[in-house]
């Protein structure tokens, strides 16, 4: 792999803008993808001093540097950010989710974050991009996910569910999709932001979901991916939104999942190892998540009709593993009392993957390791080698581009997915129910080989400390925080009439 032979783009003596751009991108990325062993000892020493590489010549995620960049952004943003003045909840979400993945949450700032978002919520329902801005489903999604990531009752109780429900209803379009704000455009993105939030908040009623799956299915193109509106080109961002929506609605079987998965697999670019958003376009680190998580969802669908299958597997497994090794496992730090006594009241759902014994925890990857259908090693390699911004931290699209909070969030989310271990059990254990299909024919046609179940170990490329917190493929918040949020909202009133009545009573 050292000279990338066989991987360079072949323009076949017919250069076009596409091939010229692709070749330039490959050259830029190849410079960063050279294995550490090909560098001179002097260059290696420099990397090691800068902590980019460890003493086994393995690449490191610059955790602390990224954390500094992100935490500073939470506190001050320069005047140039005025172009994101209608997206401040997004900035919160990108930063806080990224810090969560890095296990560097700025807990000390959470009360301020909660309060900041409070001022962006409108009485008629939903959050806007800033105070005095009308509700918009994208910053609304970001605000809700941020509060769920914070996860305390103080954060979760900020959300005015009944009002948000009423507002969502007003955005429903006859086409089945949702407008992204009053009088706004209808596409798979707006639809996802509504359905995902409604799902987490437990306000996903029939009135809301009517016709949605049918609209989304119409957005699948001949290429197998989904676009923003019917007939629009298949595109990673919209594709993610469409697939996640279908999963939440337990309607993935209504689309051509085989075509979807095959389109997704072809989006991984062979030299760079990352994902492109569309056919014949360039790799971009944000697609590490949009495409990578979509492939994780494809895997989930094969095993279950649950949109939280990854979360369920994770919780079940960390509980099991803790039980099995409770004699050896280090209990969570906050169970150690002041005089060093180790508490026995282990709350298993708090047990972090990191606290399991080393040998059980992490496996080093190769090209075919991991239970997700794509090359998990190559994706991690792209993110760590090409997407890290070395000066001051943060993540970027590709070499030559500037860092930003959006790419920091999604490159790290993609890294987390690529490291993940959460899917795929033996097919026979989890038959996927579907009324639309006949048994015998489908049993033959869909017989899958036994896939080795080894989801106790994350797949980590480079330094084993590169392991991130796991994230939900469908919602992109931490699995434990997703669990907390779902539990919190589960007990609240969730039927159409009650929600409307509650909202009316408030006004």
């Amino acid at each position: 792999m050292e000279d990338f032979s066989g991987l360079w783009y072949d323009c076949e003596s017919s250069d076009t803008t596409t091939s010229v751009d692709q070749c330039a991108c490959e050259r830029d990325c190849a410079a960063f993808l050279k294995p550490m062993s090909t560098y001179s000892p002097e260059a290696l020493k420099k990397f090691q001093d800068g902590e980019l590489v460890n003493y086994n010549k393995e690449i490191r995620l610059l955790r602390s540097l990224h954390a500094i960049y992100l935490t500073n952004g939470l506190q001050h943003l320069s005047g140039g950010f005025v172009s994101l003045d209608a997206s401040r909840p997004w900035i919160c979400y990108w930063i806080i989710h990224a810090l969560y993945l890095l296990n560097r949450e700025p807990t000390f700032m959470y009360p301020r974050v909660i309060n900041t978002l409070k001022f962006m919520q409108n009485k008629y329902g939903g959050f806007g991009g800033g105070p005095s801005q009308i509700t918009h489903c994208a910053p609304n999604y970001a605000a809700v996910l941020t509060l769920c990531t914070i996860g305390t009752p103080a954060a979760l109780e900020v959300i005015d569910r009944p009002a948000m429900y009423g507002y969502f209803l007003s955005l429903k379009s006859p086409s089945g999709g949702f407008m992204i704000h009053t009088d706004g455009e209808v596409d798979s993105r707006g639809t996802y932001t509504v359905i995902a939030v409604a799902r987490v908040l437990n306000i996903l009623t029939k009135e809301l979901t009517e016709g949605v799956a049918d609209f989304v299915v119409r957005c699948q193109t001949y290429e197998g991916g989904f676009g923003g509106e019917p007939n629009n080109e298949a595109h990673g961002g919209y594709n993610y939104c469409a697939l996640a929506t279908l999963l939440i609605l337990k309607s993935a079987h209504l689309c051509d999942m085989e075509a979807q998965e095959n389109w997704l697999l072809r989006r991984q670019v062979k030299l760079e190892g990352g994902f492109q958003g569309r056919t014949n376009k360039l790799v971009d680190s944000c697609y590490s998540f949009w495409q990578g998580a979509a492939l994780a969802m494809c895997e989930m669908v094969k095993n279950s009709d649950s949109d939280t299958y990854d979360m369920e597997q994770y919780l079940a497994h960390t509980a099991c593993a803790a039980e099995a090794t409770s004699q050896d496992a280090k209990p969570p730090a906050d169970h150690i009392s002041a005089d060093g006594e180790i508490g026995l009241d282990l709350d298993l759902t708090d047990l972090v993957l990191e606290e399991l014994p080393e040998g059980q925890r992490i496996r080093q990857v190769d090209d075919t390791s991991g239970t997700l259908p794509f090359n998990q090693q190559a994706l991690q390699r792209y993110i760590l080698h090409c997407a890290q911004n070395l000066e001051g931290g943060g993540m970027r699209d590709k070499p030559g581009k500037s860092r930003d909070f959006y790419h920091s969030c999604y490159a790290l989310s993609g890294l987390s997915i690529a490291q993940s271990c959460i899917t795929s059990s033996l097919k026979s254990d989890h038959p996927v129910e579907s009324a639309a299909r006949e048994q015998t024919k489908e049993e033959i046609l869909n017989a899958l080989p036994d896939i080795e179940l080894d989801w106790s170990a994350a797949q980590v490329y480079g330094d084993s400390d590169n392991l991130l917190e796991p994230t939900s493929a469908v919602f992109n918040i931490g699995l434990r925080r997703l669990h907390t949020a779902l539990e919190y909202f589960k007990g609240l009133p969730s039927d159409h009439e009650t929600l409307l009545a509650l909202h009316a009573a408030q006004r």
Binding site: T16, S83, H181, Y222, Q268, N280, N375, A447, P449
Partner: protein, 323 residues
């Protein structure tokens, strides 16, 4: 003219600015310029008193210069335009200019769509999209907008020629291929066998020159899956030819052939026990090809391997049944 003679401050002297009310000690605070703060304070005041006027329009233009992403301001602009009953073609002129610097801004595109709807005619839209393509031939918003205008105002007349021009410029432009599919399946032509054969020929022709163009391969696969009845034989023949002429080295050709074999095998499986042997043959052929792809298309080695196993399992289970 009257307004130009007054200074900005004089013009707005009657309005009490409304400051932004952020949480005390808010996070993600942006260091706004004084100019931006003043303009937003005036806008909030205007919103409060629900004023719709020429000066508000000018205020909004200044604000959008500084932040074209403020959808609240855009909505307010639309309300102004409605109330003042202004010339919507002039608004399109304004938008034309804006899009040059902000070709990927959602709000501008949505605003444009609304204005065009109010105008009730899309005469300017194809030319406008074309001007955007000159800078970025794959601009997603522009292609989506073009599709919308074509369908809403029935502007199909010269679209195929336009698509072919785009493809001549860059045969790898996937947006143009997607547009071609849209034209053939949602446009004025019926999908007659002549049209379908023409599409296959166009695809195959382009692949002679650029054999590794995934856009063309995806289009060909789409034609196969959607028009299987009419096109199965011709496409299979062409793909087998391209597999051979590439010495079994073209991963796209091989991949499509594997799909065709698998699809054929599955169809035969549902046909009945007489076809079982042939079905197995097709599945095994598909499996063989996937084995080749494990080395030829290494980035996808894992999924090709899984596919080999799945195909083998399926082929094996059929034989077991027949015995």
């Amino acid at each position: 003219i009257f307004m130009a003679e007054m200074s900005f401050e004089q013009l707005w002297a009657d309005v009490v600015p409304v400051p932004q009310v952020d949480a005390p000690d808010a996070v993600v605070k942006i260091a706004y310029s004084k100019e931006f703060t003043n303009l937003m304070d005036l806008f909030r005041a205007v919103q409060k008193k629900e004023e719709y006027s020429e000066r508000v329009l000018e205020l909004i233009e200044e604000l959008l210069e500084l932040n074209a992403g403020n959808y609240t301001v855009w909505l307010y602009r639309r309300n102004c335009l409605k109330k003042l009953k202004l010339d919507l073609n002039e608004e399109l002129d304004y938008l034309d200019g804006f899009s040059k610097e902000n070709p990927k801004n959602y709000q501008i595109w949505h605003h444009r769509r609304t204005i065009v709807e109010w105008l009730g005619n899309g005469d300017r839209e194809l030319a406008f999209c074309e001007s955007v393509f000159e800078v970025d031939a794959k601009n997603y918003h522009a292609w989506a907008h073009r599709q919308w205008a074509l369908q809403t105002y029935n502007l199909w007349d010269k679209e195929l020629a336009f698509i072919e021009k785009c493809l001549k410029t860059d045969i790898r432009n996937n947006s143009a291929w997607n547009q071609r599919w849209f034209y053939v399946h949602s446009g004025p032509e019926a999908q007659s066998i002549e049209v379908l054969n023409r599409e296959v020929a166009y695809c195959v022709d382009s692949l002679v020159q650029v054999t590794l163009n995934e856009s063309a391969w995806n289009y060909l696969r789409g034609l196969y899956k959607t028009h299987h009845q009419e096109l199965h034989e011709i496409i299979r023949t062409k793909v087998e030819e391209m597999v051979e002429s590439s010495n079994r080295k073209n991963p796209f050709a091989l991949g499509l052939l594997a799909d065709i074999c698998e699809y054929t095998g599955n169809q035969l499986l549902t046909a009945g026990p007489n076809e079982a042997t042939q079905a197995v043959q097709e599945l095994r052929e598909a499996s063989k090809i996937c084995v080749e792809l494990v080395s030829l298309d290494q980035i996808r080695a894992k999924s090709w391997t899984r596919r080999v196993r799945a195909l083998n399992l399926r082929a094996d289970s059929v034989v077991v049944e027949a015995a």
